[in-house]
Symmetry: C2
């Protein structure tokens, strides 16, 4: 995602530094107060700009959130590249390791923000799975050349989504507090079966 | 759960029929309006009683929700019995089949109510996993006599939670629209590995 994604209408009240400042403020607000309680006005206040400046780039709260997701350190292409680098047998473990590498970084704060927001908003519900399917799982499964790529993708999604849920959001021990390496060893083979194994 | 769980203080303004009527109204309100928008007052109105009558049995909205969960057709003991009846090799598949049998019944309406509410409320977050762990997964894993029962339980929870999420709440096809039998065949062996398989 590049800065060119931001709509430009009317005069341009400030530089890209202000846009980044607004996104930083939005992320802090979302994490601190939760999706429901955040307002464009509150984000503007925190960023030290007026609400019109926020609205110049972002139509509303939902657009602020999706843009916020973009500043999380997620680079789908790099992730796909890393997962695909290596023998096919280790795909599942590398995928789990990659996922945990992203979300363990901020101790799951992003997951705790994104997942409830996505679930609470019917408009967002299709967005995140669609994005992950197209940008991450799709390219990985495609490379395997299997016939039932969509079925395998959705099965992988069911395990990865549940891992995010039980490691970060509704933490269930010991899974929630295990070292990432151990999770990868335990969960990896299950993801591997979905990706490349013999399915019924 | 029996009706005796309801706190009894002061006079008893109406019979158990009224309590059941309040729970029916609460369930309908939760499903129709979502956890956040529901109020004790609204439930009372729908049940045709005054708010004090609702509060006689339920301290507030959270208690209404947890009681509502109790009237979903979930009988943990029956579920455990059913999953354990049969050869060990089929445990995972029978568990998935049992879970889908519960939630497919109302087309996931209960999941769409419960999961977001649980995630939005820090007080509820520990409640549902705790309940399911103690009442369902615990007894199943215990019967297997494995040494690392808690670890296996949390892994099973990660797969089952993700299945609920991607089948009902943020539906990902084709998993979301598959017949239950096919899901059980696909996901069952993965649950089986967590329950009784060789873990790293």
């Amino acid at each position: 995602m590049t800065d060119d994604d931001a709509p430009r209408r009317g005069r341009r009240p400030a530089g890209q530094e202000t846009r980044a400042q607004v996104l930083d403020a939005a992320r802090a607000e979302f994490l601190e107060r939760g999706y429901d309680a955040v307002s464009v006005r509150g984000v503007a206040r925190r960023a030290g700009v007026d609400p019109g400046t926020v609205r110049h780039w972002f139509a509303g709260k939902r657009e602020l959130l999706t843009a916020t997701l973009g500043i999380a350190p997620v680079d789908p292409a790099a992730m796909v590249h890393q997962v695909l680098a290596g023998p096919v047998e280790g795909l599942g473990e590398r995928l789990v390791r990659g996922v945990l590498g992203l979300w363990d970084g901020d101790e799951g704060a992003t997951v705790r923000l994104v997942l409830p927001a996505v679930m609470a908003d019917p408009g967002l519900r299709g967005l995140l799975p669609g994005f992950l399917g197209a940008e991450v799982l799709g390219p990985i499964v495609e490379r395997l050349g299997v016939a039932d790529a969509r079925r395998r993708s959705s099965l992988v999604a069911s395990q990865v989504a549940g891992l995010l849920l039980t490691r970060y959001l509704v933490p269930i021990d010991p899974l929630a507090s295990m070292p990432a390496d151990e999770v990868a060893r335990l969960v990896g083979p299950n993801v591997q079966r979905y990706l490349a194994g013999d399915l019924a």
